[in-house]
């Protein structure tokens, strides 16, 4: 039960800066997600909170108390490691019981048995208690590792991609379960993932991490709808957002967007707030961001549709993804299943511009989007 704060935390490994002046404030009982590509510094952040690594600069606070000088054992954190870090010479029962047997958090054997049985049931590993870690599958190991963390009542749960090695079905089930566990435990949790679905569905708030820096913090929806730059926009969402480079032109009171790659010109639907922001930004060259579900297609030529060729088509179960190519530009879109098409055949594409986001072409930073006010209102409501 604790608030976790990082203030200007910098961690270096030799010449490599793993964390660069991280400021983070995780509220008590919050489920907080660290989301970013591999090597961004997410795990390093967890290690610094757990005390496994000590930052060169900055302060780590748990429950308002500076813990830089406190060793990991006394910080009362529970951590799930990405490679499980189970004790190979102990069976599953002893592994899960190990935190309760340590001198610091010692409980009597009866309490331990009850606690282990409880988490074993929760993790559905109660039939594995006698086995050694080497006799477990990866998914089972991961659940044991989770169990070892959940058996305690720590200040904070630190989870480093705890679902990464589970099969898809189990992962979905565990995701729901984790959320429920967290609500029941009422414990602050910090959760590292590189899976966009996990980040969106689990987290109260998400921090996007890249190159040892926090790029954006906000609720899942806020980040999804208003990413602060193109990198975040690409990270959030699957299939990836389309970024269409082009030029903005203002004629009288209307805005027009011209594709860089060609002659197509679109008139932007009028929205006062957006037009004002576009005007203030004074940028001509912009990237237009458009989620794949906001791209329409047709196999027949239609008025205002752009003629492209089919670059690839893949079915992903309940829907499929078409990538169309227009000169050097690739446009992803979502189609229902069972579309029959050939590669390189013609396809006609149109954009639902009233859903588009605008980024500066030079800095890749977010300018504005349609219905920004509505999204801000939603975010306020979510943060409550």
């Amino acid at each position: 039960m604790a608030r976790i704060q990082l203030e200007k935390v910098t961690k270096k490994f030799g010449n490599v800066t793993a964390l660069n002046g991280i400021d983070l404030d995780v509220k008590d009982k919050e489920f907080f997600i660290l989301f970013g590509p591999a090597g961004a510094g997410k795990t390093t952040m967890l290690n610094n909170i757990a005390g496994i690594q000590i930052p060169e600069e900055g302060v780590v606070k748990i429950g308002g108390e500076v813990v830089n000088q406190i060793d990991p054992a006394h910080r009362n954190t529970a951590m799930v490691f990405e490679n499980y870090a189970l004790y190979p010479h102990m069976n599953v029962y002893d592994n899960i019981a190990s935190p309760l047997r340590s001198p610091l958090y010692k409980k009597d054997e009866e309490t331990i048995k009850k606690a282990v049985d409880r988490v074993a049931k929760m993790m559905k590993i109660d039939y594995l208690l006698e086995r050694l870690p080497s006799q477990l599958s990866n998914g089972q190991k991961q659940r044991v590792a989770l169990g070892r963390a959940l058996v305690r009542e720590p200040n904070v749960f630190l989870m480093d991609e705890p679902l990464a090695h589970l099969d898809a079905k189990l992962r979905n089930a565990m995701r729901t379960e984790l959320k429920e566990i967290q609500v029941n435990f009422e414990t602050t949790s910090i959760y590292v993932t590189h899976d966009f679905m996990e980040a969106m569905s689990l987290g109260d708030r998400i921090a996007i991490v890249d190159h040892g820096e926090i790029v954006q913090i906000g609720t899942g929806d806020a980040i999804y709808y208003m990413p602060c730059n193109e990198f975040v926009a690409q990270l959030m969402g699957d299939p990836e957002i389309n970024l269409i480079p082009g030029t903005l032109k203002k004629k009288e009171n209307k805005y027009f967007f011209t594709l860089d790659e060609g002659v197509a010109e679109y008139q932007l639907p009028a929205e006062e707030d957006l037009f004002k922001k576009l005007e203030d930004s004074e940028s001509e060259k912009v990237d237009l961001g458009l989620r794949p579900q906001h791209v329409k297609y047709s196999f027949e030529p239609m008025e205002g549709f752009l003629k492209c060729t089919v670059y690839s088509y893949e079915s992903i179960g309940n829907k499929s993804v078409i990538i169309a190519q227009y000169k050097n530009l690739q446009i992803r879109m979502i189609a229902p299943n069972g579309v029959t098409l050939k590669l390189d055949q013609d396809i006609y594409v149109n954009f639902l511009l009233e859903h588009s986001l605008f980024f500066r072409a030079e800095t890749k930073e977010y300018i504005s989007r349609y219905n920004e006010a509505g999204i801000l209102a939603l975010e306020k409501e979510q943060e409550g």
Partner: protein, 274 residues
């Protein structure tokens, strides 16, 4: 047909193994036979003779053999204990920490085993005389580190490297202190390697001849050197020598049998990285 072929190759294999076993074991058997022969029958009989326990009596009860035996246990055992106490932390440091010239230091430790003993023993003799540790337990235990320490460090280092560092981190987070982690988590994991390396180090130290020959005198005398006493200038008591050799081979044989299971696996397991 396959069956008969399989049987044939089984017979062939076992036959070869039997031949090898005879080849390897015969000297030992011969040595044991010698211990029961009287000097007079030494050269006149082969397998049929009047067995006698005189040699045992002579060596074990009428000479200082037991003292030499204990000396050997003290110096070889002491050497292994010192090697474990100093070598395990050294191996841990070499496996876990990054420091300047790490690999050079590791190689340096290994290189102690490169030089032939006879080459370094003379200067060591002078140094020992000057330091006043010639012919002491301390001196021999010290010089035996050249034999036992490199072996132990290199085997145990491999074991530590095989243990992922996250296991230590996990134990830290679980609330264990470093010493508790070492004894509860790390020691059980390096045990096979440690036992195998320690046993081998013990045998090497036990069998060492050159160092104790030059660096010990009359007050401390390991068994290997003491056995030469039975080669008198006028007569050679082969029977007594055989007794001395047989008894001195016993500890190594007994140890090896006890931990046979760990021995081969222990030495190969850490070396092969998964």
């Amino acid at each position: 047909m396959n069956k008969s072929k399989g049987r044939l190759s089984a017979i062939l294999q076992n036959g070869l193994l039997v031949i090898y076993a005879i080849f390897a074991l015969f000297p030992l058997v011969w040595m044991v036979i010698l211990t029961f022969k009287a000097d007079s029958q030494m050269f006149t009989t082969t397998f049929i003779f009047t067995p006698t326990l005189d040699n045992y009596n002579e060596v074990l009860f009428k000479s200082d053999y037991v003292k030499y035996f204990i000396d050997s246990i003290i110096v070889a055992g002491g050497a292994v204990i010192v090697s474990i106490l100093a070598g395990v932390p050294a191996a841990y440091a070499l496996a876990r920490y990054d420091f300047k010239k790490k690999e050079d230091i590791a190689f340096q430790i290994l290189s102690f085993k490169f030089a032939p003993e006879i080459l370094v023993v003379l200067p060591l003799f002078m140094i020992y005389q000057k330091l006043g540790i010639y012919d002491t337990y301390f001196g021999l235990i010290w010089v035996y580190q050249l034999i036992s320490m490199p072996l132990l460090i290199w085997v145990v280092r491999g074991y530590f490297e095989d243990i992922s560092v996250e296991i230590e981190h996990a134990a830290q987070v679980d609330g264990y202190s470093w010493w508790q982690i070492f004894f509860k988590m790390l020691l059980p994991l390096i045990k096979p390697g440690l036992v195998a390396a320690a046993l081998l180090a013990f045998i090497f130290a036990w069998n060492s001849f050159t160092f104790p020959l030059m660096l010990s005198g009359t007050s401390v005398q390991p068994i290997t050197v003491a056995a030469t006493k039975y080669l008198a200038s006028d007569s050679v008591h082969y029977g007594q020598m055989a007794v001395a050799a047989t008894v001195s081979a016993l500890p190594a044989v007994i140890f090896a049998l006890c931990i046979q299971k760990h021995l081969v696996r222990g030495l190969s397991f850490g070396a092969v990285k998964g």
